[in-house]
Symmetry: none
Subunit: 252 residues, 2 copies
DNA sequence: CTTTATTTGTCCGTATGTATT
DNA sequence: GAATACATACGGACAAATAAA
């Protein structure tokens, strides 16, 4: 959106060159995107700005943009603007998928920032998921999760203090649920159930995720169990819906 | 509705705290519902009772309740009272789950309304999912889905015309994907993959779902395959996020 | 909550060049 | 060549959706 970037894309169209104006515009914008002048998720200049830049009518720009949106290169949202489509992060949901595995297998660099690690008294729903008495002490670990430096979600993990008294310290050192549980003597666990809902981002989440208050978030609630089937961890994650697709491979 | 339960919810609002009174009330009642103090179908205290409990004017309670009814958490019925709306529909995602099974196993009455059944040329993504050439003819079946008369979602199904020429007729008669495929000679199929995203309802979907344009929808894309692993059906469903929770049981 | 500004969507009309019949 | 249809390009006005104040 800087003028420098605008000028770097040779914003010239040639009338009577055999190619229609809107095709020339579409081709130049596509090139600009592929060259990286506009990165995934970036907002493109407005129709008005592009029309002035290319010295054409707004309708001509619209024709070019409609063509680009049909190929899936850009998305057009009324009232918001035009954006370079952002290939959403595929986040696999399976019995044995881990956060870091999920990203590394897709050549994304995972990043986890510890927001808080406190003891709390379990609410009814968390106690039920962990099969412990309501009000029992649990560790509440909140993290901010990134993929290639882009914020993709917030996670809150609950683990019973009585069973894993050193969990918070272990997580602080390792920043990994798997490693922290291992440090507490649990070598294997797997997902039992996952519940998925969507909602508009609560104000506090929106702030931390760096998104608008009226952008949707995908919320997952997972229960992890040990080899004896006993619940060991309850996790509630909120993903930026615009950046994440949950995928399930039903297998065999 | 017992007084004991009322008192267990800390019924305090703070004036001049930056948050409006009605938002505080709405938040506390929402928490009480999510915590299970009021269960689906329960009648909430009357406006008068809530106003006394929170020490605010009745109109302030009304504003809070109107907000909650807009989100679909409670329903307000003149002359009767205010009620917690039926629990969000749990929709199970598994290799062999069917729409009607899903609902009947939960004592919900499924309803399906055929919106359209046309032949179209497959877009790139649909063609890829069905493993057919782009542009090949497919049936596009669009339905509106209800549970106990409440609209829960919209579905769009795609099936190759070349392989199932009579599919649309069969679906018109049976209103069932399973039955229609059976009528075309396919006796068994199962889900291969599911992709889940969330977004704000597109205008047209919002109209048909009877929700606001800025309510979130959960979108699932599923590929169903036959016993030889060949894709037979591609489905894209949009659920009213406020009324539906997707659940996965990772099994064994 | 309402109001205001921004941005895209739709519709009206006009004109021009290029194929097709 | 004449008539027709179609795509392109421009200009303007208003509607609809969004976001911020």
């Amino acid at each position: 959106m800087t003028e420098a970037r605008q000028q770097s894309t040779s914003a010239f169209v040639h009338r009577g060159s055999g190619t229609t104006l809107w095709r020339q515009i579409a081709a130049q914008l596509e090139q600009a995107v592929r060259r990286g002048d506009y990165k995934p998720g970036d907002q493109l200049p407005t129709e008005k700005a592009l029309a002035e830049e290319f010295r054409v009518n707004r309708h001509t720009v619209r024709q070019a943009m409609n063509a680009l949106s049909k190929t899936g290169l850009v998305s057009i949202e009324q009232g918001r603007g035009m954006f370079v489509v952002d290939s959403a992060l595929d986040y696999a949901l399976g019995p044995r998928t881990r956060f870091s595995d999920n990203l590394q297998s897709r050549q994304k660099r995972p990043g986890r920032e510890l927001l808080s690690a406190d003891q709390r008294h379990a609410e009814a729903d968390i106690a039920r998921a962990l099969a412990i008495p309501a009000g029992a002490l649990v560790w509440e670990i909140r993290t901010l999760n990134r993929a290639n430096d882009r914020i993709v979600g917030l996670s809150t993990h609950y683990v019973a203090v009585s069973r894993f008294p050193e969990f918070a310290d272990a997580f602080r050192r390792t920043l990994s649920i798997t490693a922290a549980l291992a440090a507490c003597g649990l070598n294997d666990y797997k997902r039992k159930t996952t519940r998925i809902t969507a909602r508009l981002a609560p104000t506090e989440d929106a702030r931390q995720l760096g998104i608008g208050r009226n952008r949707p978030v995908l919320q997952t609630e997972t229960v992890n169990i040990d080899e004896n089937g006993r619940p060991v961890e309850f996790g509630r994650a909120r993903f930026v819906a615009d950046h994440v697709t949950l995928t399930i491979d039903h297998g065999s």
